[in-house]
Symmetry: C2
Subunit: 936 residues, 2 copies
Amino acid sequence: MDPENLPVINNYLDANEPVSSEACLSRMHFHDNQRKVDYVLTYHYRKRGVQPGLGSPGQSLAIVSNGETGKEPHAGGHGDIELGPLDALEEERKEQREEFEHNLMEAGLELEKDLESKSQGSIFVRIHAPWQVLAREAEFLKIKVPTKKMYEIKSEGSIAKKFNELLQTLSSPLKPRVPEHSNNKMKNLSYPFSREKMYLYNIQDKDTFFDNATRSRIVHEILKRTACSRANNTMGINSLIANNIYEAAYPLHDGEYDSPGDDTNDRKLLYREWARYGVFYKFQPIDLIRKYFGEKIGLYFAWLGLYTSFLIPSSVIGVIVFLYGCATIEEDIPSKEMCDQQNAFTMCPLCDKSCDYWNLSSACGTAKASHLFDNPATVFFSIFMALWATMFLENWKRLQMRLGYFWDLTGIEEEEEHSRPEYETKVREKMLKASGKSVVQKLGTNMTENEEEDDEDKLTWKDRFPGYLVNFASILFMIALTFSIVFGVIVYRITTAAALSLNKSTRSNVRVTVTATAVIINLVVILVLDEIYGAVAEWLTKIEVPKTEQTFEERLILKAFLLKFVNAYSPIFYVAFFKGRFVGRPGSYVYVFDGYRMEECAPGGCLMELCIQLSIIMLGKQLIQNNIFEIGVPKLKKLFRKLKDETEPGETDSTHSKHPEQWDLDYSLEPYTGLTPEYMEMIIQFGFVTLFVASFPLAPVFALLNNIIEVRLDAKKFVTELRRPDAVRTKDIGIWFDILSGIGKFSVISNAFVIAITSDFIPRLVYQYGYSHNGTLHGFVNHTLSFFNVSQLKEGTQPENSQFDQEVQFCRFKDYREPPWAPNPYEFSKQYWAILSARLAFVIIFQNLVMFLSVLVDWMIPDIPTDISDQIKKEKGLLVDFFLKEEHEKLKLTDEPAQRSLGGGRRSTSRAPSSAPSGRSQPGSIASSGSQHTNV
Amino acid sequence: MDPENLPVINNYLDANEPVSSEACLSRMHFHDNQRKVDYVLTYHYRKRGVQPGLGSPGQSLAIVSNGETGKEPHAGGHGDIELGPLDALEEERKEQREEFEHNLMEAGLELEKDLESKSQGSIFVRIHAPWQVLAREAEFLKIKVPTKKMYEIKSEGSIAKKFNELLQTLSSPLKPRVPEHSNNKMKNLSYPFSREKMYLYNIQDKDTFFDNATRSRIVHEILKRTACSRANNTMGINSLIANNIYEAAYPLHDGEYDSPGDDTNDRKLLYREWARYGVFYKFQPIDLIRKYFGEKIGLYFAWLGLYTSFLIPSSVIGVIVFLYGCATIEEDIPSKEMCDQQNAFTMCPLCDKSCDYWNLSSACGTAKASHLFDNPATVFFSIFMALWATMFLENWKRLQMRLGYFWDLTGIEEEEEHSRPEYETKVREKMLKASGKSVVQKLGTNMTENEEEDDEDKLTWKDRFPGYLVNFASILFMIALTFSIVFGVIVYRITTAAALSLNKSTRSNVRVTVTATAVIINLVVILVLDEIYGAVAEWLTKIEVPKTEQTFEERLILKAFLLKFVNAYSPIFYVAFFKGRFVGRPGSYVYVFDGYRMEECAPGGCLMELCIQLSIIMLGKQLIQNNIFEIGVPKLKKLFRKLKDETEPGETDSTHSKHPEQWDLDYSLEPYTGLTPEYMEMIIQFGFVTLFVASFPLAPVFALLNNIIEVRLDAKKFVTELRRPDAVRTKDIGIWFDILSGIGKFSVISNAFVIAITSDFIPRLVYQYGYSHNGTLHGFVNHTLSFFNVSQLKEGTQPENSQFDQEVQFCRFKDYREPPWAPNPYEFSKQYWAILSARLAFVIIFQNLVMFLSVLVDWMIPDIPTDISDQIKKEKGLLVDFFLKEEHEKLKLTDEPAQRSLGGGRRSTSRAPSSAPSGRSQPGSIASSGSQHTNV
């Protein structure tokens, strides 16, 4: 604060009070230390010439603030600044800003800003919403506020109660130490705010009745719908920011999170109890998060918390399954047979010419490793995980309902959304094109409503067709690009393997080298394309010109999800379902690019490779994205900005350096850009956890470890690194839920195929019960290997310089084919078809069984918890009761008929005109947006 | 009317007006010809001795009616009847009735009834709801009523508009000639009725502002919640009817449907334009149906109408598919080969001993017939039908939303339901048991609320456990019963076939005889069990003691559906998937009951038999259920009642015979028992249409024909044969939608299996592309038949007295097995496994493809039609606008402050106490039901 430099001209609350020159407690108020800053707009200004007189103290604060009189204080503010030789654009912007600010004041807001004293700099327009604006808007937005009435939340039956109490005691060290809403057992009855029912609410202090998040939400609501006729009739602050008229608009944080003093604010509390790695073991203070950041962000963290806690049981079982694999590794007959030197299966060479025959026992290691993931326990684990996914979604629905009840979201309606600025521009262009100037006039009258009127002033599918076409083509192109990169990596693998096997010294670890490098290439490609696709999806959605922010978000999410999903999973799908299936057979191999044989899986089966691929991509993606993109890049950006600030002339720094105001501090933070990246990351992870869980039972563990960090990382970002987001009211997580349940359904199919096709589970079963002589797996390895007569190897593909210690007449390869001595050699054998039937039958049974179980789980768990639905019913009854009681009391108190006639006005409009002059403009503006519809 | 016999004592509207003795226009009014009868309660009374003086004219009408004064007119009514020596039960009931009627009058209703003049007879208590009761209740029930404001419904773009107009013109003869709501393009803005906003509504005549359905609904609402403390504190008329205190309670029809005069009423209109077979080609007047019968029944007919119209395209395509089969019957190579005498496949005997070898060409007929249903077109048809089912459900959702919009159902909340009488009784019993008399007192105070209080006064799962157990056991038992009956029919078929084939004369048409009789037995069993299961399901649901009517209905439906579904479909599932699969092979047949071979399918494949089974069961069920149960049984019941009435002493008939009152007429109709049977019938039919459409493409045609009749049949029943149902407000068709979508999903799987397993589609494809030498189906029949060496037939199973004209060394049988000369004779051959793989692969591909397409269709068609969602948004805007305008005008009109203070009361309670004394009791009673919750 710099009282000498910024004297206060206060023409509303305490115009006659002398300016206080002492340091104020909070740096979040107007200069009078009374009116709270609820919102800040910033813009950059630049002047060609600086008037010398403007820099002097006493005139550097251009307060613009309206009072009760409704006269135009704007004119006064105008006089403060003498017009210098600004360039045209700057001048234009300045006028638009002035008009907009004027309109804001008309709407009842109070503004304060510094004078544009220097040749260029940032100006912060601080906005304060006085009580009557807050009350008016709260009524319009139907914001539910607590009434005086408290009621006890019904407790469970005695046994459940005791159990619950025990649980509470046990988990108390895990609870964040934040002040709870008085008592967990009591809840305030809430009712939408109404200015005529003020007696219902417990209004002790009008300044604090609405909390900061609500206040800024209300201001944001006004900012969004205030028009600016100069700026092409655009609606709202978003258009103005899009047109560079303002630079940013943000509500203020509640204070500093790391200030040393004892004074607590919610931000500090959040930082202490939530946004630090040190408290990773604690529950999240969801109610406080919601209070500070609004429902949308609150729901995200609640969702993330539920997901993380659901990962705990699946991690435990995953580890058990893995340990079961470790424990039974010695008892596994097929891998014992493979490792047995005496069995000595002579295998056909893995490549033409340069590769030699080899002994199967040399692949003993991979066989054993593959048993870790390819054992019967994984089948049950993947059934478990499919049901787990259903349970998770069901429980989320319930938690959402529960939160909705406690946060008073039941019964809120979808808010009507304003069109996006881009949409409006497009419509305007279309109308201009359509019929010249006559339409423009029409536009002038209609633009304030931006509702559908005729075909002419909305975009039909004809207008959008080019956009859709570009979208469709680009998405196809990008999917094709992804596939071709995957194919490129395959080619890399094939060629490198071939090249390396020529060289004797490298031959021994060809497979390891090739696999490792290829997976790393894949990972890098995925990471790079992920960023590119995110940008492309946004660009494509912009081309589509969706009408509202909500549709924009939904379409963006769908596109981004599709692209990122394909990007992240296509190499994995390749390994799981396609690798090694187009190899051909000895004597008639499939070749790509003339001479390179298609790659096959390691002798232990593709499952092992799938597991490696999965773990590297999943871990790599998480580690790198978390570390580099979420921690590193913001740090770098901050550094870069700091450097830039320092290199620029320090003119604007004068106020910053001494004792920065809260708006200065917040301005230096990153702007909030939505939850989409956070959700997307988690959803892709959810895919890793569910889609291929059959091949990688440890995925939940890694996901859990990642998420424990992720929660605090995100928390830290929101609390310390981002400007405070606007509090958005929402009932659910929207399209993400559909995507999650889609992944859940898809995972059933993909796991069915992984178990049936990729793993050796079915062949073993078939062998054990269909072909084995003694009902054990003895002889299984032999059964899976077909014979090949080496004399039938094509000319030039025989191993050169074979150093194999035996004379080879038949070599073996992994497939079910007729032996060379059969009437139809090398055709698929009966076993092949029998096993294929069994595999497919397994897919059908698994898929339908698991889907049926999921439906059953879905049906058995009610979407609304019974106690909540009881409470909601009860609340309805209580509300009627409370109303009647309050009204009776009120009638008793105000016996005089005069008072009664004053208080007895009708809802929302028939207020005595003296009480709130600005309250009248609002219903009128909404009314006009409706009234013209009747003529349509 | 009989004015001499029934003088009117009218103490409310026109107490001093002389009684009018002329014939009244309508027979639906109180005797004063002014107050409409909105509801009728009837009861039987019986006296031991008849007072002679009571039969005299001038005293036989015991009018009980309350007025504004609030004094107890009941006492006067009491004095009219001298107590005779009634028996205790009658006396008790009489007192309960008196108390109940007294309570009704307290609630503001007006009652009229005749004196109990004879020794026994029926008494009709006519109930009229005066305006202030209607207004009060409409406000509480939040009934939306039209306001003065009309607005135009947005029309589509110009092309769609023209197309629509053309369609309108073309379809105009199909439109029922009922008065539309003024104009299709305009809609009244609706708003929940509020007594303080009367100026909003266009109230011209308070007697007709609420239509008859709404009036009776309001009365029913009051009847449902009025308590009767004498009758064990039961709540509502339903308990009283259950306890035989009243016999029936029903609203009145609007008049006679077949009266000759020109006077129209809605019932007559409905009869003329809807409930006759003669108008079968017309659309249904859904709005009128809804107006007359309420939303629930309106939605049923709307649903039935949509379903029927959706059957049209599927019928057309089904017929085309069938015709395609007919047209290609001569080109079908397999059936040509089968019919070819020269091919001469010698088949193995169909039964032991008595059957001979036979030539495949003798089965030529069935082979050809089977092609009608087993051709590639059916595959596409079943994909089509799966998508059709999805489309139908999606369109129903849309229609539901559209109707919801036009019927002003958007935003209505679930009404809180009262407990069922049975539930209350059970709770009372439990409490009595629990802690004796002390609880009874508590009960006395709490019973008026019947909400959850403690564990003690609600049923926990412990109390319900026996009921659930019985339910579970009974359902299992009945499913087992169904299965054993199916098995019994199989045994019947096997044994009869064996017996018949012993006799030479019957041998030729064994199969036809056996199949036909077996199917008829199945059909009869299904029809009988259907009725039994319906009753059992109801009994079981009663045992469960569900709390509310809604849960009762849902559980009943689920149980009844499960049982009826299993009952109707188990024989069909047997034929489709199991018949002929456990036959074994020549030389090692599977025997049941020592000596009877398992039955196999006809040589044309099981599909033909499935088709026969399906068509007979479907058609038989529809024809018999429609004709006998829906037309015959009600007629019989009526006849029976008539006969009974005639045999009884004609005492009560005196008033009936001359000129029956509307309540007499309605009393003689059947009571309405809910829509469950109607829905159930249609849902089972929906199953026939979708589940096995692959085997019977004509199913939609038969369903369509049936439904065209069904609509009018149901309509006729509702208009002419049933008492008027209570108008029930509901937003959707509830659990039926879930059942429908479940059937839709299940149908995908079942069709996949029918095509893959039952039909020959896959083997033909595999043969054509895998085994055929020239890519055609030539040789397919040979390929499907395996060889058997007749010398290996077991001793005693060879044909006796073989009259086959050749020496037989090998006989053929339909299976894929190794030939006798192979190393492992009679094992499944490689072809078997290959074809099995193909079948299973087809199932997987078909199921996932169709499910994916369904999801896509579901996703692409928005649940809410865009025009409706636009309108709903627009309506919100209009409402605000309209409110403001009306209030402004009102303020202008009533300038005097006195008037303003009178009209400016708060919503719902702060009315001036003089205006409606009875209006006050209502909010109070609701309030008290809530107020005690706070102490919980």
